[in-house]
């Protein structure tokens, strides 16, 4: 029996500081046993428990895409005990990754459809995974129009800046980058909150168009009426939740919302499902 609590040993291969305030770093891990990479076969939208012996585990969305081989990437916000320690770790250090966990974005539904991604702040990690997955040459034909609306407080707070610029150049991806405000005279993208940009740039709803919304609660709150006005049905909107969790496999009982476990039945739910659940997230 495979022990679902056992983290695969990994080596930190590269650490990238993503934001100007240094609160977000991307960790690129390489599996010590190459076979573990196969065991870790994942889909965009899933997460894993990052395990640091002596400190514990934290659930973090997978930022790399299944199409990227040889490593797995996570972008981590420094906020608690484990993340603070992780931010102080060095390339070459050994730790663990346990997963993949959770249900992922519904790729069986999304294939053949228009996809609108609305993201804000550091909730963009599994969205990056999804974008890289969809625009991979092997996959791009499987999707119709792809819109991405992504914003942060300032240009320096955007994640994956080089990739964003490269995506903005593509003609098979409608990329809308925005910041709340900036004094940079050379800023060439949008200025304004994500919901306002979504109002102008998101396509009108139809049966073949699905939205994925991930961001801080305030962004989600104001994006909702925009999508409603555009006609998006609630079973066409996907959201990814976070709750305190320990096991990640639906056993420890921490992350339940009603009868659903965020870790196992989620983290991705349709807005329709969320409307039927208590607001315990």
């Amino acid at each position: 029996m495979q022990n679902p609590y056992y983290p695969f040993p990994v080596r930190i291969d590269e650490i990238i500081t993503e934001t100007e305030d240094k609160s977000l770093k991307t960790f690129k891990f390489v599996f010590l046993d190459p076979d573990d990479e196969k065991r870790f076969a994942y889909r965009a939208g899933q997460f894993a428990e990052l395990s640091i012996p002596g400190l514990g585990e934290i659930p973090i969305g997978i930022a790399s895409s299944p199409t990227e081989k040889g490593f797995v990437k996570f972008t981590v916000f420094k906020t608690g005990k484990v993340t603070s320690y992780l931010h102080a770790m060095k390339e070459g250090d050994i730790m663990g990754v346990r997963g993949p966990l959770g249900n992922s974005f519904p790729w069986d539904i999304l294939e053949g459809k228009n996809v609108v991604i609305v993201g804000g702040g550091f909730a963009f990690t599994t969205l990056r995974s999804s974008i890289v997955h969809m625009i991979d040459p092997a996959n791009r034909d499987k999707f119709k129009d792809i819109h991405v609306i992504y914003g942060a407080r300032s240009p320096g707070m955007l994640l994956y800046k080089d990739e964003l610029e490269a995506w903005a150049e593509r003609d098979d991806l409608n990329m809308h980058i925005t910041v709340d405000g900036t004094d940079d005279p050379n800023w060439k993208h949008n200025t304004g909150f994500v919901p306002a940009v979504a109002e102008q740039e998101a396509p009108k709803a139809d049966d073949d168009t699905y939205a994925i919304v991930c961001g801080p609660p305030i962004m989600i709150k104001f994006t909702q009426p925009v999508l409603d006005n555009l006609g998006y049905k609630h079973d066409h909107i996907f959201m990814s939740l976070e709750n305190r969790m320990k096991c990640g496999i639906g056993m420890c009982g921490h992350c339940n919302i009603g009868k659903e476990f965020v870790c196992k039945d989620g983290p991705v739910f349709t807005l329709d499902t969320l409307n039927q659940m208590p607001r315990e997230y």
Partner: protein, 357 residues
Amino acid sequence: MKIVQIDKSQWMEGIEKLKEAYRVYAPVKYESFHDFKALDKGEAPDFDFQNTRRSPKSVVYPQSEILFRYSLDKNSDEYGILKEEEKDKTPKAVFGIRPCDAYSFHLVKRNFDTEDYQDPYWLAEYNKSTFIGMACNAPCTTCFCTSAGTGPYDEQCLDALVVDAGDHYLVKLLSEKGEKLFEAAGWTTEAEASAESRIEELKSAAESKVTSTVNTDNLKKQKMLDLYEAPFWEEVAFSCINCGTCTYVCPTCWCFDIQDETSGKSGVRLRNWDSCMYPLFTLHASGHNPRGTKLDRVRQRFMHKLKYYVDKYDDGIQCVGCGRCVQSCPVNIDIRRVCNMMNSYDPETAMCEVTTV
């Protein structure tokens, strides 16, 4: 099905014999109450109790359990890599478990043994355990097992059921595991033909003594959000002090925390029982808490047992009616009353029937 008879004077001899092949767990007396314990050589179980103060869940699922060991010695090859903890594989004989408590393992197993994941620690302990039930001839006033899917003579989750028939025990052997254990103990004397009717007689007498009940027939039909938003939670939660005693004594509460504990350059990854009654249970690293109030947490405990899992498994409530939480609650919150409130709640009028159990 085989029924064997054991003279009470032969009881200890068989138990001592079993200790050679099994770890034998049974109730023993501590001060004024009973609890399950692994018996030492020569130590006798004590069956002079109505029910143990704590449930026997710890026999399968210890309150604190090592999952892994690790080294933090940077010079070691094993630095930072978790090693699985070697577990004792000796089979366990669990004596004197009440049928309601045995049924609780069946309910909890739904959580630890799923299609997607199997918890290797819980399942290993469960699978190596043989459950020898002790039928309940004198239920407590707080017992409501008969309306919670089980009963004082319920056989469904036992390997054998022991019935106290005065100067001897009558034992129904209910599984191969149970038969094997009784053979190993040397308890093989077949009971007289009248044993079966004697057991039935005692069973009816015991069942008629369980007079308190819960109504559960309407729980499935109730809309989850109606119950969630019902005003009665204010009143139910008012006196709660969030002490967590109910979850601690409950046989069907299994929530756990995982923690690393380091000493010098080595340590262990542990799992410990946890409780949804504590604010830390759901606290995010950001400081946000989805169940930040005591009302949220009290509601979670009852909704989980009496609604969420009724919906999730469509197989009754996640409660066996042992009554421990009723007995142990320092502020007299009574799950029977809450269950009846939930069952009778009318969202149109926001009223429910309040029973005085």
